[in-house]
């Protein structure tokens, strides 16, 4: 039956996400049905995904019949196990068929453009999950290491004795890789495939033998390994104790500035008490003074003076070696300032 005019395939019924939303969608896909951590990716996952790519995405068929795809290893029994259902009376595989061989020598990865990896094996926070153990609330930190980049080369060969079949397969592969790379998703981790080379290994030179075409497609997978054994779940800090040491005494005595004049024998004690500084303090008298007057400058209600423990009032005489104790009544939140004026004796 003919296809109606204007027939369209791949109608997108739902809007496709782009940009940041698309990136988030890819991240969500990695976590889908996972236990907060992404699923690991190992070689066998990448191999399985590549086989699926050839079988389901390339899905090459001839005259409506899907061509067998055989992944080959060195074990003979494995080869038989893969091929027996496609063999005939003499147990020979008949063309056309497709084989996949993975080169066993997996190379150091180039999907980070050759940049060096982070040294050591640090793990990085992937997600923080709230936790409640019945007593305390907390958070578990799920951490993963940096993935290990690997380059895996697959050799895909089509064996056929018809040029039209080889053309058709070649066309399909060229169409898939027309935008340089094609992504596969081992365990939902997107990884690019590059078509590196197309070769010909056809057995057509020996005209006295059986002839058939063999076309080789060398495909490079720029993948990475994420070993689930390296994942970590560690509890975050959920309770801290904070110690603060305080002292009852304020080690912040008022400042006394002594100005003396040798010519007229006058002396001025200027007392400056900053906010929150001590209001009661002592000072040793160095010379003999006669204090005559108290000059209050700022924020002082009254001043009590004790000379060797005895209350005194201006004017008074203080001899060298005596201790003058000063008690200031003031607003402690503001700077207080006053002067004791006198003469040298």
């Amino acid at each position: 039956m003919g296809v109606p005019k204007g027939f369209r395939k791949n109608i997108k019924l739902y809007p496709q996400k782009v940009g940041v939303e698309r990136r988030q969608e890819m991240l969500d896909a990695i976590n889908y049905k996972a236990s907060y951590l992404p699923r690991g990716v190992m070689y066998e996952d990448m191999d399985a995904s590549f086989i699926d790519f050839i079988k389901k995405e390339v899905n090459f068929s001839v005259n409506g019949e899907t061509i067998p795809v055989i992944f080959l290893t060195i074990q003979r029994w494995a080869e038989l196990a893969r091929t027996w259902e496609f063999t005939g009376e003499f147990k020979d595989l008949s063309v056309p068929f497709i084989t996949i061989v993975r080169k066993p020598d997996v190379q150091e990865g180039s999907n980070q453009q050759g940049l060096w990896n982070i040294p050591g094996r640090p793990t990085f926070t992937y997600i923080k999950v709230p936790r409640w153990d019945g007593v305390r609330k907390g958070i578990d930190v799920y951490k993963i290491p940096q993935p290990v980049s690997v380059d895996i080369t697959y050799e895909v060969r089509i064996f056929s004795n018809k040029m039209r079949e080889v053309n058709s397969f070649n066309t399909k592969i060229q169409q898939i890789f027309r935008s340089r790379q094609h992504y596969i998703n081992p365990n939902e981790h997107p990884m690019p495939l590059h078509l590196e080379n197309i070769g010909d290994e056809s057995n057509i030179d020996d005209f006295e033998n059986r002839k058939f075409y063999v076309q080789l497609f060398e495909v490079l997978l720029k993948g990475y390994i994420m070993d689930e054994k390296e994942f970590e779940v560690v509890p975050a800090i959920d309770r801290t104790m904070l110690f603060t040491e305080v002292s009852e005494s304020l080690n912040n005595s008022p400042k006394i500035v002594i100005n003396s004049n040798e010519n007229n024998k006058t002396v001025t004690f200027t007392v400056i008490a900053k906010p929150m500084s001590e209001s009661e303090f002592s000072t040793k008298i160095d010379f003999n003074y006669r204090f005559l007057r108290l000059n209050i400058i700022n924020n002082v209600t009254s001043v009590e003076l004790l000379l060797d423990g005895k209350t005194v009032e201006v004017p008074f005489v203080a001899m060298a070696g005596q201790t003058l104790r000063i008690k200031i009544h003031r607003d402690i939140n503001k700077t207080a300032k006053f002067q004791l004026l006198g003469n040298l004796i």
């Binding site: 066998e44 191999d47 399985a48 086989i51 992944f71 290893t73 074990q75 003979r76 029994w77 494995a78 080869e79 038989l80 196990a81 893969r82 027996w84 003499f90 147990k91």
Partner: protein, 172 residues
């Protein structure tokens, strides 16, 4: 409806089906009666064998085989080869030589078995040691001249086997 059959009339002036059968009978009497050389055939059970889901390789001790069958045949075991694991000549080991079996097709038909590529063969080399081999050429196309009697029909099969490691198969 059965398959059409065409009678073989080659060399029928001096050789016939009866002669062919007689030749085989005499040969078997010598091979199975006088020589009495036997090997054990382990046919892999494709259904029960545990294989790796991706690579198709057998898992350790995962090979399940059908009941072993004793087969009378002419055994030709080549000389062991002195080899090394490393290409620089270090880590030497002695690898069993290839095993070639010559078996009358009629013998297999009587036993009701066939030998397939990938099957395993056990050969008792001493009273206590059995060596194992994997079939690499089951010789199923035995209609070449040398496997026929006077070019009449294929009479016997020549089966080529390569040694296998015990991590792959260890029989009994």
């Amino acid at each position: 409806m059965g398959q059409n059959k065409v009678p073989i009339n080659r060399a029928d002036k001096f050789f016939s089906g009866e002669d062919f059968d007689l030749e085989i009978e005499m040969g078997r009497e010598y091979l199975e009666g006088d020589l009495n050389m036997t090997v054990i055939l382990f046919r892999v059970d494709r259904i029960s064998t545990e294989t790796d889901s991706i690579y198709g390789e057998t898992v350790k001790d995962g090979i399940r085989y059908l009941p072993p069958v004793e087969i009378k045949c002419l055994v030709n075991l080549m000389e062991p080869e002195n080899k090394t694991y490393n290409s620089d000549g270090s880590l030497r080991y002695l690898q069993d030589g290839q095993l070639t079996l010559t078996i009358y097709q009629k013998h297999l038909e009587e036993l009701g078995v066939d030998i397939t590529y990938g099957d395993y063969i056990g050969y008792q080399v001493t009273e206590s040691e059995m060596r194992y081999f994997s079939v690499v050429n089951d010789g199923i196309k035995n209609y070449n001249n040398s496997n026929t009697i006077l070019g009449y029909k294929g009479a016997y099969r020549r089966i080529l086997c390569a040694p296998v490691d015990k991590s792959e198969f260890r029989g009994f």
